[in-house]
Subunit: 475 residues, 2 copies
């Protein structure tokens, strides 16, 4: 009997699902870059179930791959092709354990869908600010394990900043439990920080206590054209100043990304009539009934128009208009898919280097890209841009993108490294970026990561072959 069969035999039937169709939802990643196989999907109902599964896998040296909503971009939750790795999904652990309105906190299990947590908060006139394209299907356990970013990080931070407490099952089956939603706690090492962003390789997050905020009661959303990419920074600085740092989103959309979308999706209208090259979608929110956001934005625009930074713009005057603006921004990735895909570069540099990076990166693609198109957009207020390269119209996408990955991507990553930036701002490493970590990662960090993995998961059964270079594992 194969070791994984021994594990499955020891688990109650209720926890084990062998339905090939269901398993098939998890054996290929969201972007269809990685595929594998698995004999069974394990679906625990409780933290104790998770502990038992993890213990058994450790004991029998069976690889266990945790999966959330399978919306990641780096194959972090796709099993390998051996057909012997088990998948574990916490989708049935989707209880809200506690909502403490006065403490502005909610304690949820890892299988909760992100948008359900947002909705729950909204019902109490509160806000859970984590917001990203896949929010209707991604799970908070996955968000935590990948330290998800999204469109509100400028004001509210990334997932790490939103986690007050954590419960996780460690590879030896023990439960690390510190769910108390405290704002301050200096009792020794910040172990839960190590699990945030570890993509399931050091333990499986089973529940978390999250920070909530007061719900915005006023919101102003604007879409503006800037004169030049170098106007990004001055606009951001002024926007932060005028709004008193109430700016929650500051998203860049290149003309190229917008055109791609308008070409491919019917029924979408350009928000501005001109042919400007660089746009910013910005949003400021407030919970205050006496803060006049519109006045702030008007002062900001007056200032920026007279400076020549902003050359055109529109302010949403209804929720419908606001949604339309966000709809454009959020559909850019789909525009790329409809075009035939892209080679994505999820990079971050200093906010002060953002424009220079876009300029230099664009020059690289122009020089070495064989006529490639660009789609550049993203969270420039955080110094994070999605710098994506697409095939020219009428060219075989798949072969072309392979060429780009080989000839252009290394140059872009070299540029990022030279600018002291990150080759993975928000997507994590998964299995897709282990080679980048080998090339660009700090050797001391890589060595310490491997040591930590070996210490905490000595059998190497938790999601092997991802995130961290393991000295060797027998699985």
């Amino acid at each position: 009997m194969k070791p994984f069969e021994t594990v499955l035999a020891e688990l109650s039937d209720d926890l084990v699902l062998r339905d090939r169709d269901v398993i098939g939802r998890f054996t290929t990643d969201f972007r269809r870059k990685f595929s594998g196989d698995s004999p069974a999907l394990l679906r625990p109902r409780t933290t104790e179930d998770v502990a038992r599964i993890v213990s058994l896998c450790g004991q029998h040296k069976v690889a266990l791959v945790p999966v959330g909503g399978n919306t990641g971009y780096c194959g972090g939750s796709t099993p390998d092709k051996s057909g012997e790795q088990l998948i574990i999904s916490l989708e049935r652990m989707n209880n809200v354990r506690e909502l403490d309105v006065d403490n502005l906190s909610v304690t949820v299990e890892a299988g909760c869908i992100l948008s359900n947590i947002q909705d729950l908060a909204e019902q109490e006139q509160l806000l859970f600010p984590l917001s990203l394209g896949s929010q209707q299907s991604c799970q908070i356990g996955g968000n935590i394990s990948t330290n998800a970013g999204g469109v509100s990080a400028l004001r509210y931070g990334v997932t790490r900043d939103l986690v007050l407490g954590l419960e996780a099952v460690l590879p030896d089956g023990s439960i690390l439990s510190n769910l108390s939603p405290l704002r301050k706690d200096n009792r020794g090492y910040a172990l839960h920080q190590l699990l945030i962003g570890a993509e399931g390789s050091l333990g499986i997050v089973t529940a978390a206590s999250l920070r909530l905020f007061l719900a915005p009661i006023r919101r102003v959303t604007a879409f503006v054209a800037i004169n030049d990419i170098t106007d990004l920074m001055p606009l951001l600085a002024k926007a932060q100043q005028y709004t008193g740092e109430a700016m929650s989103s500051f998203e860049y959309v290149s003309r190229a990304s917008l055109d791609l979308l308008l070409d491919k999706k019917n029924g979408l209208r350009p928000p501005l009539s001109g042919k400007d090259q660089h746009y910013i979608l910005m949003e400021a929110v407030t919970s205050s009934p006496v803060l006049n956001l519109n006045e702030m934005i008007e002062c900001l625009f007056e200032d920026c128009i007279s400076d020549g930074i902003v050359v055109d713009g529109t302010i949403a005057t209804s929720e419908r208009q606001r949604r339309d603006l966000w709809h454009l921004r959020e559909n850019i990735p789909e525009g790329e898919v409809l075009h035939g895909g892209s080679v994505k570069h999820d990079v971050s540099v200093r906010v002060s280097d953002m424009a220079r990076f876009v300029q230099l990166g664009t020059a690289l693609v122009e020089r070495y890209g064989h006529g490639a198109r660009l789609s550049v957009y993203g969270h420039v207020g955080d110094g994070n841009v999605h710098f994506n390269v697409l095939s020219p119209e009428g060219v075989n996408c798949s072969a072309f993108l392979d060429l780009i990955a080989t000839e252009v991507s290394p140059r872009i990553y070299d540029l990022v490294a030279k600018m002291d930036g990150s080759f993975s701002a928000e997507y994590g490493l998964g299995q897709a970026k282990l080679d980048l970590q080998r090339t660009y990662g700090d050797p001391t960090k890589r060595r310490l990561m491997s040591s930590l993995k070996a210490l905490i998961d000595p059998a190497g059964t938790l999601t092997p072959g991802k995130v961290v270079e393991q000295a060797s594992y027998e699985i």
Copy 2:
């Protein structure tokens, strides 16, 4: 030759200081609760110096105790009595390596005094928001190693939230270097999070990149009396709402703390004439030239007075008045010292449990405290209160405080544990709170902390006997 002599002999004279007076500044802790001895103070000028010192100590199994401004409350930087532990101070590593105004970041060496960093930011119309009583003498390396909190955490977070990048020397002498001031970076494990708050036991922080914010150009500071301790929460909620979360400080001052101070310090005047029991010092700040903070605060007070939450109050109308209000708040610890000292309990609970904790804690002291006085004050907006117990007038302080520590403290900590709170909200563990960690700490966390310490510092030379329970160390 003793091993420490071997280490000292291998270091250049410039790095070694044997002056007994200078060493004496570090052999007793700030609160005079712990004392020890050391043969020499090591004063590196560079990260490489630190690496060499750490390596040599590891090699010869000589204990090394990092010290910052020696302002900690838990004896975390005091050597033991053996006279064989070396002290290392980074006071000569106080360079500003880079200030990037557009990126809102500054990269400083660990020996920089906190207030110098604040001043540097202010010169550029920026803000480094970390602010605490000892800011004129504490060093940023110590702030990071203890994850310091302070009076602005409500809006700007604790030190952990302000660190963008870190450089540290690990116990094996290798340098972990990731100083790039990025807002987003998901390249594997968040190792620097592990060093923040580790009190020097896993590595010595040598430099850090810190987040800056726009400097406030308007500020409103108010001191109000609330009707009852249970009005804390509703006032905080309304204050956050009206100011759109621009509230940066929300500090509680009990009548007892205020009286203690007015009794002991001449020239201080009570800000309000009544005899109310509970006060809040609150401050909101904004960088916006169009945000009317005064209007917000007036609306807030109108609402709270009509609700009966606020019974009296004053708003500072000049910088002088503002400073006087803060002066009162900041002098409370000195009031306690002048009284003869206190048994401090630096606890946190949920913000929603804050009032209940103060009520139940006060009842415990009334019942078991042999007539003790209380001084309760602190960062209640973060759920963090300093719940300090003092001797009655005319009683021998030292003996009485010992009695309190034995008979009352355990009951207070039991209460905190029952409320799922923390027995160390911002002070850390040092050597003072290792026993509390043994009693109340999560066993899984304690075990993992010890394993991490053994992995990263196998010789156990970095600040032994503090923060973490070491299985055994030979030093």
